[in-house]
Symmetry: C2
Subunit: 185 residues, 2 copies
């Protein structure tokens, strides 16, 4: 951020009076520009014991496999966001059961929320997917997954389904986990 | 948003090519400025069957009672945000059990995440609180609560504790619920 989005003058990065962390401040109009984490909402679509995955057609991690998920938009709920992303990326409808993984990524200011769901009807690649397919546990392309959040969610699922109990799993992914996927650059 | 925060030129609000909803667009530098919901993280601090509430010292809803909660910041996790807000507003430490209510407020682009917690040690009003106190169920100031999210979380808690089972409750609050608190202005 270089300029105030309200008045167009230059901003500086400093701690406002009464605050405890730096923000982008506009001395011309007095605006304080807060920046906050974003929610990535998605689903774990299941049918006949298989999981739907999408192969990404866009950066980052183009060509790698992911669960359908993306940034939650204004004016929608977390469930609506998860359903919308599933429809956009996999042309698939789902019946959502519950929130299954909540994963914090504080180094990139994201919070993943993946809902366990039943896949309903057909599927096909949307514009952001190269292909969409169903995978049994022994078919999951573990070395070709797009993000550590996806790997973790799938591990939880295949572990939990032996007992058929699917509690909410809350966890964090740090820089080290991420570097396995993206390198340290 | 009037000006591009990257280059300082004027923005327009229109649907970008390949997108399906309007964004703030900068024709000068090509930036697309996305806006996304914010997370409000907080706790439901319990001790000896009583709930800790804070009376707000600041707008909105100054003078009304709330659970300690506030906007999640960049570079922290949802649990860290909930603990930090509890420390800031009630000078209180908590031991978090689990995520208890997840409440979508799509008309104001917020997602509340309230964690059930044990209160540890002392408490006192922080700079954003006029007072902090413990309330038994029959002492809750139902007509003086700050936000519908707080009312709903407290109702869930006093309902669930008869069975001592505290599942995650996911729900939405719409414009109508909110107008009971804020009016239709």
């Amino acid at each position: 951020m270089n300029f105030c989005s309200h008045c167009g003058q230059g901003v500086r990065f400093a701690i406002p009076e009464g605050d405890d962390r730096p923000r982008y401040l506009c001395d011309a109009c007095g605006a304080i520009h807060y920046q906050n984490p974003r929610i990535v909402a998605g689903t774990l679509p299941i049918r006949d014991g298989c999981v739907l995955l999408c192969r990404r057609a866009i950066a980052p991690r183009k060509g790698y496999w992911t669960l359908p998920a993306g940034y939650m938009e204004n004016a929608e709920t977390t469930l609506e966001a998860a359903e919308r992303e599933t429809l956009e990326e996999a042309c698939a409808e789902v019946r959502i059961h519950d929130l299954y993984t909540l994963i914090n990524l504080p180094h990139i200011n994201q919070v993943y929320m993946i809902f366990r769901a039943d896949l309903i009807g057909d599927f096909a690649p949307g514009p952001e997917s190269l292909e969409v397919a169903m995978f049994a546990e022994d078919e999951i392309p573990w070395d070709e997954l797009a993000f550590p959040t996806i790997e973790r969610t799938l591990h939880h699922y295949f572990g939990d389904r032996h007992e058929a109990i699917f509690p909410l799993h809350i966890s964090d992914i740090g820089r080290d986990d991420r570097e396995r996927y993206f390198g340290s650059a």
